[in-house]
């Protein structure tokens, strides 16, 4: 690992929660404006976490919080790998591992609502995983490398050769950010049928850790969006922000779908992602 990758790794670990927290706060503010409400301050997420930190920690099973701690550790690890510039497939697998810890945490709580949330989260993972892997494969086919730093150094604008993959990736981002119409497993707003989904039985510090993990995750995923535009850094940052705005817009514009709709994710992956890759390999041959 070069010195640069160490720097970006450390920057990620230190700065991501602040950026992620601010983005989440911005999300809440903008969503409120879209719904003609005043909304909270942009710093509200930080206030929330501080408040949660002081609350009593209620659990159903005494070991459930361990899973969440490991979820957080592996989310940070995943993002760290990504920003250190290692193998993209490795990053995907680490991400999956982190998500599995979260799902197991929800199973461990042994409450019906978190159980339903966990099952749905698994469904969502199954829905987005192929497209995420295809994204990595698509990037590999263009840049001849799975290494994130090599992909970032590629001279061409990846999004131009991988438009289908990019659109498919955006689709999975909606699932990954748990935004409507795919907020099936742990909605940001309590719903009658799901209560709070996977996080129903988590409280106090543990819930704060889950929030922080989501901040890290947000930054990591936007970093991946940046990778599509990496040859023009300023465009990459703009694109990542634009994608985040798009997610907020989609969240507010759509109602939640039934889980059967997750079929669409596979169709999108097969048509957009794989179609793009097929065309690429046809050109190569």
């Amino acid at each position: 690992m070069s010195i640069n990758s160490w720097i970006s790794l450390i920057l990620y670990v230190l700065a991501a929660p602040f950026i992620g927290g601010a983005l989440t706060g911005f999300d809440r503010w903008l969503s409120a404006r879209m719904q003609a409400r005043r909304g909270p301050s942009i710093l509200q997420s930080f206030y929330d976490v501080r408040k949660l930190w002081q609350k009593q920690n209620l659990v159903v099973r005494s070991s459930q919080n361990f899973y969440v701690v490991f979820f957080l550790i592996f989310v940070i690890f995943t993002g760290g790998l990504f920003f250190a510039g290692v193998d993209l497939l490795m990053v995907v697998f680490a991400l999956t591992l982190a998500a599995i810890f979260f799902v197991l945490a929800a199973y461990k709580t042994s409450s019906p609502y978190s159980f339903v949330g966990a099952e749905r989260e698994l469904m969502q993972m199954m829905a987005y995983e192929p497209m995420v892997l295809l994204t990595a494969i698509g990037m590999y086919m263009v840049t001849k490398s799975f290494q994130v730093d090599a992909i970032a150094r590629h001279s061409g604008l990846l999004v131009l050769v991988l438009p289908g993959v990019f659109l498919g990736f955006l689709f999975t981002l909606v699932i990954k950010f748990r935004k409507s119409p795919f907020d099936l497993s742990a909605s940001h707003h309590a719903h009658q049928e799901l209560v709070r989904g996977m996080t129903t039985e988590f409280s106090g510090r543990t819930l704060a850790l889950i929030e922080i993990a989501h901040w890290y995750e947000t930054v990591f995923l936007l970093g991946w969006v940046y990778l599509f535009f990496a040859s023009l850094p300023w465009l990459g940052v703009l694109a990542a922000l634009a994608v985040f705005l798009l997610m907020i817009l989609v969240d507010n514009a759509f109602a939640r779908l039934k889980w059967h709709a997750l079929k669409s994710a596979w169709v999108v992956a097969a048509v957009l992602g794989f179609g793009n890759i097929l065309i690429l390999s046809a050109f190569k041959a």
């Binding site: 159903v60 361990f66 697998f93 680490a94 192929p130 890759i277």
Partner: protein, 666 residues
């Protein structure tokens, strides 16, 4: 080395003979059986480990000039002076087996079996007679009937350690099996059972080490017959039906095998596996025999048109399932496909074999989601993983073969462990439904923990199978990107069914009772051993790759060897990750009780009754809470997927063979 290899083949057979002669019931018989089994297993384990360590006479001594086939293969002479006796002995065994299969076919009125057997026996009989007498009598003699190379050593280790473990496990398991209430109507034929287990193991060793294709074929057919007998152990109508299905499907593969041998001999004069590989570049001649051998491998490895037989095989007692799924039988199929990969790589045959494997992987993984019977989930997962290995064999590049061998290792240990766990759980909980295994980690912490380790080994980063899946993905992307579609969709489906099972194990409602006396001695030895093996395989895989797999793949005729397979940086990260995951069980063990948390009841809309188990329903009645997994049966139909998948694979396989036959005739 010759002695070691012969020991591995003969010792289980001798043991089987001893077990066969052991009749009568009661404590004495039981005791002798236990001694025999333990002794047999010990011999096999020690011999296979010694072979792996390069003991037994040293390699240089048994490598006379001119008998080095490939870079790492060593040919072995077996009793050169008694060649004719061995030849006639083999003929006699083949005839006996053929007669028995004919008898089975006629008795059960399965004419298809009779036709297949007659065709196969007729072909082989005609071939052997014309070759030995009409053709001068010397043609079928090959200088080295057996051989050893790194791949064979890996297979031998798997067969010895995993297969041996299963035999130990079976001691306690079969006792419970016949003592329990569930199998009162099943006749206690344990002598037969253990005899077959050992014959099976010996035949598998023979199959691994055979260089002479006639020998390979003999052992191939022995495993077919053994699996038929073992699947039908309980003699229930279902068991009989499934056993017959396994028999005809494998006989079809056997017929393809026989045709391949005849064609190969007619066209090249060779009846040796290594001779065949040496000619690998001569694709026009070798492609048809190789395609037929791949077909035989596909049928034995339960790939899609043939998956039914392996699913049906779960009617047998659990040790049989474990044996069929992990160390023998299906592994023989993928072994042959991987052996053929240098010949089929880059050809249409390779592509079709790869597509069959890929489609099987995808459909097997999806079908596993719909299954709630733990054994069925495992069976589908085996089918799927074998699909992945067959895919590797079909792609056949350097990286693909490497990944395929790695998959064989990880799959064998982890899957065996899981089967053994399910067997124990079935005896204790009297159910093997995944939903019934809720809170297993509290009820049976040892077995539950082992199960979690096995599952982690099956799919989770950074453990075994995932490493291989990763390698497969890279290999496939480089060789033919379109196949990657099958791999990515299939692997995300595996995620779903494994995690929901893991979730069930840790989920704990109320305060379940701890089950006392989880394991018998034999079961404990086998399962602890396998857990350690699973763990070691994951930790030491770079070493395994360096010592065994890479030398093997290096010896294959490849021109473009990739610079690095996974990259040393990635291996470092993986080991780091493994360390981090290990912290998890450790932190569980050493956590402070209480730990500043307050334990409350789960949220049941504020209508909890009796803590977390019951609640007041909408009608004012008290309801019991229940949580069952998603099986998505309204989206995925096992029957439909299997039907379409089988139809598709049948069509492409038939088309492949037909096209090749036409080409050969020209």
């Amino acid at each position: 080395m010759t002695e070691l290899v012969l020991t591995l083949i003969v010792a289980p057979m001798v043991c089987a003979l001893g077990l066969f002669c052991l009749r009568g019931k009661g404590g004495g018989t039981d005791w002798i059986r236990r001694v025999l089994v333990v002794a047999g297993v010990l011999v096999v384990c020690v011999a296979s480990v010694m072979l792996a360590m390069g003991r037994g006479g040293g390699q240089s001594e048994t490598r006379p000039s001119g008998s080095v086939f490939l870079q790492n293969g060593v040919g072995l002479h077996v009793l050169p002076n008694h060649h004719d006796a061995i030849h006639w002995g083999i003929m006699a065994i083949e005839l006996l087996m053929a007669a028995y299969v004919l008898y089975v076919g006629i008795r059960s009125k399965k004419w298809f079996i009779v036709i297949l057997m007659v065709a196969q026996a007729g072909l082989m009989g005609w071939f052997e007679l014309t070759m030995t007498h009409g053709g001068g009598g010397e043609i079928l003699k090959v200088p080295q009937d057996l051989f050893v190379d790194k791949f064979a050593i890996i297979m031998a280790l798997i067969n010895g350690l995993v297969g041996g473990g299963i035999c130990l496990y079976a001691l306690g398991y079969m006792k419970d099996y016949h003592a329990g209430s569930g199998h009162k109507d099943v006749a206690d034929r344990r002598s037969m059972f253990f005899t077959l287990l050992f014959i099976f193991m010996g035949a598998m060793f023979g199959l691994i080490f055979s260089n002479n294709l006639m020998w390979l074929f003999l052992f191939w057919e022995i495993t077919t017959l053994c699996s038929y007998l073992l699947i039908g152990y309980t003699r229930t109508p279902e068991a009989k039906r499934n056993a017959l299905r396994a028999l005809w499907m494998n006989l079809l593969g056997g017929l393809a095998f026989a045709i391949a041998i005849v064609l190969l001999q007619r066209q090249t004069g060779a009846t040796e596996l290594q001779e065949m590989l040496k000619l690998a570049s001569n694709k026009t001649i070798l492609l048809l025999p190789a395609a037929l051998l791949c077909f035989a491998g596909i049928s034995k490895a339960a790939q899609l048109p043939f998956s039914n037989w392996l699913l049906g095989a779960m009617v047998a007692p659990t040790p049989v399932s474990a044996l069929l799924h992990s160390s023998t039988m299906v592994k023989a199929g993928v072994y042959l496909v991987l052996r053929m990969s240098p010949i089929v790589t880059g050809t249409g045959v390779g592509l079709i074999v790869a597509v069959v494997g890929g489609v099987t992987f995808l459909i097997g993984s999806l079908a596993a989601i719909t299954a709630s019977d733990a054994k069925r989930v495992l069976a589908w997962s085996t089918v799927a993983n074998l699909g992945l290995i067959v895919l590797c064999g079909g792609v056949g590049t350097y990286a693909a073969v490497w990944a395929g061998v790695l998959l064989i290792i990880f799959h064998a240990v982890a899957k065996c462990l899981l089967f053994l766990c399910v067997g124990v759980v079935e005896h204790k909980l009297h159910s093997r439904d995944v939903d019934a295994m809720s809170a297993l980690i509290v009820k049976m912490p040892l077995v539950g923990g082992m199960m979690l380790i096995g599952m982690a080994g099956m799919f989770l980063a950074p453990f075994g199978m995932l490493i291989s899946k990763w390698a497969v993905l890279k290999a496939v992307v480089d060789a033919s990107p379109s196949l990657s579609l099958l791999v990515v969709f299939g692997s995300s489906a595996t995620l779903f069914f494994w995690v929901k099972w893991m979730g069930k194990l840790v989920q704990t409602v109320g305060i379940p009772d701890r089950i006392r006396h989880e394991l018998h001695a034999g079961e404990a030895v086998a399962m602890c051993g396998l857990t350690v093996l699973t763990f070691l395989a994951c930790v030491l895989f770079p070493l395994i790759s360096l010592i065994f797999i890479e030398p093997y793949v290096d010896g294959l005729p490849y021109s473009n060897v990739p610079r690095e397979l996974l990259g040393s940086g990635n291996v470092t990260i993986m080991i780091l990750m493994m360390g981090m995951v290990m912290l998890f069980p450790l932190s569980m063990l050493f956590r402070s009780r209480g730990g500043g948390v307050k334990i409350v009841d789960p949220y049941l809309c504020g209508a909890n009754v009796e803590g977390s188990i019951k609640f007041v329903g909408s009608g004012g009645t008290v309801e019991t809470m229940a949580m069952n997994n998603y099986y998505m049966r309204n989206l995925l139909s096992e029957r439909l997927m299997m039907g379409w998948g089988s139809a598709f694979c049948t069509v492409i396989l038939a088309a492949m063979l037909a096209v090749m036959a036409v080409q050969a005739c020209r």
